[in-house]
Subunit: 233 residues, 2 copies
Amino acid sequence: MELEAATGSDRKRGSGVKLAYDVLRDEILDLVLQPGSAIDEVQLAERFNMSRTPIREALVRLAAEGLIQTLPNRSTLVAPIDFLNMHTYFDALVLMYRVTTKLAAQHHRSPDLALIKEKQIQFADAVKAQDALAMIATNAEFHLAIAEAGRNTHFVSFFKRLLDEGRRILRLYYQSYEDRLPHRFVQEHEDMISAIENRNLELAEELARDHAEQIVAQVQKLLVPGERLKIEI
Amino acid sequence: MELEAATGSDRKRGSGVKLAYDVLRDEILDLVLQPGSAIDEVQLAERFNMSRTPIREALVRLAAEGLIQTLPNRSTLVAPIDFLNMHTYFDALVLMYRVTTKLAAQHHRSPDLALIKEKQIQFADAVKAQDALAMIATNAEFHLAIAEAGRNTHFVSFFKRLLDEGRRILRLYYQSYEDRLPHRFVQEHEDMISAIENRNLELAEELARDHAEQIVAQVQKLLVPGERLKIEI
DNA sequence: TGTATTTTATTTGTCGACAAGATTTTCTGA
DNA sequence: TCAGAAAATCTTGTCGACAAATAAAATACA
């Protein structure tokens, strides 16, 4: 467990925060750290073999991203997953799928397309290998590559944040159900790539929406029995 | 200038960061701190009469929000305004105007509407008084109240961030041109309120888009002579 | 035995100090 | 005079320590 910090504190200056931030972030998103559980600064400092200062900075950054909650003068804890307002998350996610894909169809250049296709191959491999974790990761990378091709940094950063949060939900999903993993998504990705390549804005957006709604429906069927207010925008 | 920190360092525990964060944030958004200018931690520590630690935490938070940029091991500076990609900002802003207004028409409850109308009165007062700064602030509050009524925290936080960034641009706009301030916006706001109140989703969204496009066009006419790629979503 | 109050312990927010990088200045040699 | 190396200065990242705020434990009291 203490692999990341050897005894000798020979670390490059300024890499301390980044290390703590990256590791904690991954552990939160991969549900290694349980949502709602408390975080002990001193313990983390010992674990990473550094003082509390860089740990603190990492925590502040995570808090700014909404990954941890910090009660003033009291404990800081891993942000709980808001199951009650899950539908608002899905609304935001679907919208970003649509917008970024449409913009990609409009603004992409050749190197963008190469990267997108590369991510799609990685995603297909993950599906073939039935590797749920790799699927989650490569799927996010695929859609982020599309978003980047859309060339709107505001949408990209917002979308990235949503996808991160989604990692926890999907993780939960794949944790509870060992499912035949959706080969269907691979084909849908291919269709989206074609639409982007042909600069067919409407089709790209439509496919993105259907794709997103499909995933959302599947996740929601398993996680929340309750209703979702469907919103047309 | 040093009003915020008297000689006696009698400050409530934990209020240090908040103070520094709030003040710096306002100074950045109000263009008191020039975009691109350097930030000196030690100087700030002296000014706020506290050690570098809380200053540092405030800066980290500001950096997480994109309000300052921090070059590793080197200086940190006020985030420059990205005039080149301004159109991406406007695209995001217009979309959020539309989405939040539509959702407000769908999900608002009576107390929401009261708050929205209150903000609208304040906005109208600011227009009447020709107070540009108050206009910027109350306009943002008005639209944020609408967003809150839409009950999607993801959209709200994203929108809030965009409106903040907009403060700098609008500030620039009002700084250079002493204009007859747009009474027209007041009427448009009234129309939006009616649409929300009547739960007319389509009309609410349409009015929001027109309103946003109107503002964008006016700002863009003055700031960027270049073209804007108009995107239909 | 259960509740209120004091004591103790834990944890967080802040501080001053120090060292690693980076920047500027000074010095050297052509 | 100017380019390059060395030294001095400045700024940032990290550390250990301390004090305020909170939580937990212990005690007193009914």
